[in-house]
Amino acid sequence: MTDEKPRDSAVAVGLIYPELLGTYGDRGNAVVLVQRARWRGIPAELVEIAAGDPIPDNLDVYIFGGGEDDPMEMAAAGMRSSKAAIERAHRGGAVVLAICGGYQLIGHRYTAFDGEVLEGIGIVDLETNAGSPRLIGEIVVQPLPNDVWGEHGPPRALTGFENHGGRTTLGPDVAPLGRVLAGGGNGDGSEVEGVLEERIIGTYLHGPVLPRNPELADRILGWVAGDIVPLDATLEQSLRLSRLDAGMVKGTRKWIQDRMLARG
């Protein structure tokens, strides 16, 4: 953990290249962090970093979303040229939340079907290959124990919607975010989802992920703002539970189908 120091400025939640990395509502993650900070009386602001601009090193949260092919290439180029700033900020206590395409780009590389390689920024030891079929649908992930979660232990099961063709393999010393209870996740046969490092979360969960999982949102906020007071999340938890139900029903149906098919 970094030293907790009193904040002298608003929490700056950075939405990186929203025009390029915003295909699936990932802006919602930034909105939720800003609002849950403000509702607690913690000043917070949403800072959009426009495509083509350098990524600054003074943000508290760096949110990378998912995008289409051409925009992904543009985004990767911008992220690579700002790699030093992102690393500097992370060392200084900032959080990286990387979703889907953004998750792939914080790793070493993404290799497409035709063998073409898109270089990431490699701040986490992982790489992704294009796979088939595309993994689309509700996903449920049980976060795994990890020192990163601190005294609270891991948050409860996460719900999201995944939509990706990537098969992501983690390096030997890197821990996943959680275990897949329903859906595809990293999709490389490991039955795990995402990546979790000190103040870095990479995941395939859209939905977007934070509006559906207020506990995860508050963990991230705690990492940048220190101790935070509890905040009502009854509505968000109702949404989360309804999506957990939907995801688990789908997962169970698939589990039964797989067993029946295996039996012939």
């Binding site: 919602g28 909105v31 939720v32 609002q35 919607f161 939509n163 509006p211 509505l235 109702s238």
Partner: protein
Amino acid sequence: MSASTRTKVGVVAGRFAGWLSRTITRGQGATISGRVINKIAPNALQELAEGQRVTLVSATNGKTTTTRFLATALAADGRTVTTNSTGANLASGIAPTLAKATGPGEAVLEVDERVLSKMVDPLAVELLVLGNLSRDQLDRYGEVHALSAAWRETTEAHPELAVIANSSDPHVVWAAMPAKVTWVALGLGWRSDAATCPECGALLSWSVDRFDCPSCGFAQPETENRLDGTDLVLDGERIPLSIALPGTWNLANAALAVMAAAHLGVEPSVAAGALDTVTSVAGRYMSVPLGDSREARVLLAKNPAGWTEVLRFLHHRDTAVVIAVNARVADGKDPSWLWDVPYELLRGKQTAAAGERRLDVAVRLRYAEVDYAIEPDPIMAARALPGDEVHIVATYTQFSALYRKFGYGQ
């Protein structure tokens, strides 16, 4: 069996299937009847289109309304018009539409963006009308760029094909360019799906009223034809578009329709003068009774671009709003677009979250700091809201349910 007998049998069988569908399931029957026709008579489209001058209308948003406007404009000029007025816009819906034609005339057909390319050859199309392309049901259909690439293959294969196209949409421009295009600038609306150049992938540069690519030179085509307030400026002439349908987006639909009618030989003022007779299009903009002397107006919004237009419209009105959202296959199973749309524009209004995904809507409204109630049924939700004016904005399957219940005769 000769081909034409095949087609006749196919059409009769298809109509029977459609009747069954309407009778048993209260569907509109066009899709199932088309499937039957296509199965029995694979050449039905070519044969049925004989004697028809075919115009195809496609876009992510507005194709049903633009089609209705164009059909209305042609009818006002005394033409015989065949059109798919129920919005059945796949190959399976188009065959039964053409089969209903009683003689030679104009066929004005709305086609789904994904099947446009497959329709151009069999129907020997005279004119394409292309409105806009943006993200829609991404979990099912893949990406915007793939759609515009498919359109472009068609125009490259038909460089002599006449096209009326919106010059303000980069994807449409890139798709239409290889053909013989008459451009009209409909204004820049939703641009979140066009950050990069369709031609070379570089970042597009956007100004208030135009786009261009600093890297390869791809740019918004120059044209004097444009939507200017509530007027269409066409060949230097200013044509007022007085329409009964709400919203800026319908002025854009009207402008496209008048452009297309003019291409087909209708005097623009005659075409424009007929458009105010259109008050509801396949249930869009219909009014439904709330049972307490009030009525709610129903708007269909299928994707972020459509929602954004609708919210801008509602923002300026003193109205209560029901947001009715499902996420079934026909809606797109991923409602994450809720977070791409500025619900903040509803601040200060009374709203309700309805539909199967009302909790997703409610969470979105909470974070937008909009007051909301939660009620599954959109009519019950509307009834519980105060005020003289209520709008129900619905995704496709929510809208369809309302249309089935209240839409006949509208």
